[in-house]
């Protein structure tokens, strides 16, 4: 099986029409390591966008959009087999359901990448790598022999992200509203970006949206525009991150049973 990760060097989205027939002025070329936020209210066209990418649309879906792979139209055969594996999806309501330990499961996943030929030493290395990566994202360490279904929400999310970054063959990762609970979101995005994924992130969170390199704005079933960050937004991001850190520090104090004072906010002091 061709490794999609290695073959796909760029994905380009060419605009079509919104649901009301408005033309979309979009020409967005994405390369591995890109982080793109997708913003817009529910029902504004996220599933439509997703379906177009997975179908590698060639102006033959209701949106009239076109998706280029490596700056070209893929031949029909490839379009078919690639589309299925183009996007890895991660969302809030995904769970582990398999009755296996973390180590067994990572081995299983690695086996299906190598079509069943997996060297034992290599499997060991992968298990270690995925778990170590997941444990950098969550405060509650995951053990190789933990049952998958016994992991907490934060642990599950961390393992899903580490596994997708290291073992999934899909060049694009779509993250749907990654929550703040039990996982370092910024690091999670870094892991995916460093592993050369194209990351699409649907979010309403200003910090996450501003961390992205660009922002697809959805409205009424169409792409209303693609925004690039600027100096002003970068400054706002800094400010938001300071406030966020201060809020975290207050939460931590609360957890430790301490008294809170009005001056805690805005000082930007990180918890010791």
């Amino acid at each position: 099986m061709t490794e999609l990760n290695d073959v796909i060097t760029s994905v380009t989205l060419l605009g079509g029409r919104s649901k009301s027939g408005e033309p979309e002025e979009v020409n967005l070329r994405l390369v591995p390591g890109d982080l793109v936020a997708v913003v817009g209210p529910t029902g504004s066209g996220k599933s439509r966008l997703l379906a177009d990418i997975e179908y590698i649309a060639q102006r033959d879906t209701p949106s009239g959009r076109q998706i280029l792979i490596n700056d070209d139209t893929p031949d029909p055969e490839l379009r078919f087999s690639w589309g299925r594996r183009l996007i890895a999806q991660l969302s809030q309501n995904m769970n582990f359901v398999m009755d296996a330990t973390v180590a067994e499961f990572i081995t299983m996943h690695a086996e299906c990448r190598g079509d069943g030929n997996l060297d034992e030493a290599y499997a060991e290395k992968l298990i270690h790598e995925v778990i170590a990566q997941a444990n950098r994202l969550t405060g509650e360490p995951i053990m190789p022999d933990s049952p998958l279904t016994a992991l907490s929400g934060g642990q599950s999310r961390a393992l899903m992200i580490a596994d997708t970054a290291i073992l999934s063959d899909s060049p694009i990762v779509l993250i749907d509203e990654i929550e703040n609970a039990g996982i370092d979101r910024r690091q999670a995005l870094d892991v995916l970006v460093q592993n050369q994924k194209i990351v699409l992130m649907a979010t309403h969170d200003p910090i996450l949206a501003l961390l992205a390199h660009s922002r697809i704005v959805l409205k009424g079933g169409g792409i209303a525009g693609v925004l690039q960050g600027d100096a002003e937004e970068a400054a706002l991001l800094q400010e938001l991150q300071r406030t966020d850190a201060a809020l975290m520090a207050i939460r931590e104090k609360l957890r430790r049973g301490e008294r809170l004072s009005g001056s805690s906010l805005g000082s930007g002091s990180c918890p010791a």
Binding site: E54, R84, V97, H109, S168
Partner: protein, 238 residues
């Protein structure tokens, strides 16, 4: 007209997924109708009717659902033909894993969900092994990794089939499946056509209404399980 046979375990999402695909086919100007085969009860015909999809419902009752299917599919297909349908889809639920309703030269689709368990594909027999397309549903509630593992398990059992992930709730993936159904060959007359896999032999006293348990009541096609001698009191095996 194209006859498409769709089968899979109960509640694997066959109807939801088909409603989404039929919607897409309609957008392409293609008219589809359905016959739903089930065993005991089904209200899926109402779901099709609510979406203006012509539908027949067949309940096998006290007959083996596979035998019920094969003795009725021709008449159902003729009904579809008389309505001028482009595609006629037979949807079978409640089959045992010994069988498949797939017919030679008619597209066969197996539906299975991601929650079925990693070993389920190896237990499914011709329903999965002989399908041209395998649709895996309910991917929205399991992790990406499990979707990939499950798909690999399906591939191991059936390397020939086109395997697709589809979400019956949102319709994600329907374009691909819809395109495959739209490209299916025309089926023509079913008379004299062959099933891809023979039906199970089932001619014994219990077929004829026997309900009592015991050697004296078993007649006809009966097979005994192998049990090691030492553990059997009386030690007699059939």
């Amino acid at each position: 007209m194209k006859l498409i046979t769709v089968a899979g375990p109960p509640s694997s999402g066959k109807t939801s997924m088909l409603l989404r695909v039929i919607e897409w086919l309609k957008e392409q100007g293609l008219k589809a109708g359905v016959v739903k085969f089930d065993c005991v009860a089904s209200r899926d015909d109402e779901r099709y009717r609510a979406k203006d999809v012509p539908v027949l419902l067949g309940l096998a009752g006290n007959l083996c659902p596979d035998h019920y299917f094969v003795t009725n599919i021709e008449a159902c297909a003729n009904w579809g033909q008389s309505l001028g349908l482009d595609l006629f889809i037979s949807e079978s639920a409640g089959l045992c894993n010994r069988c498949s309703p797939f017919i030679r030269q008619a597209l066969g689709v197996c539906v299975i969900d991601n929650l079925a368990g990693a070993n389920t594909p190896t237990k499914m027999g011709p329903l999965l092994k002989q399908a041209d397309i395998v649709v895996i549903t309910k991917g929205d509630i399991v992790s990406q990794a499990e979707r990939e593992v499950f798909q690999y398990q399906v591939r191991k059992v059936n390397a020939r089939a086109e395997v697709l992930q589809m979400n019956g709730l949102t319709g994600q993936g329907r374009e691909r499946l819809g395109a495959l159904l739209a490209q299916a060959p025309d089926t023509g007359d079913l008379e004299g056509r062959k099933l891809r896999f023979s039906m199970p032999a089932a001619v014994c006293s219990y077929c004829l209404g026997e309900t009592k348990i015991g050697k004296d009541y078993q007649m006809g096609n009966v097979r005994s399980i192998a049990i090691p001698e030492s553990e059997v009191s009386g030690g007699e095996t059939a």
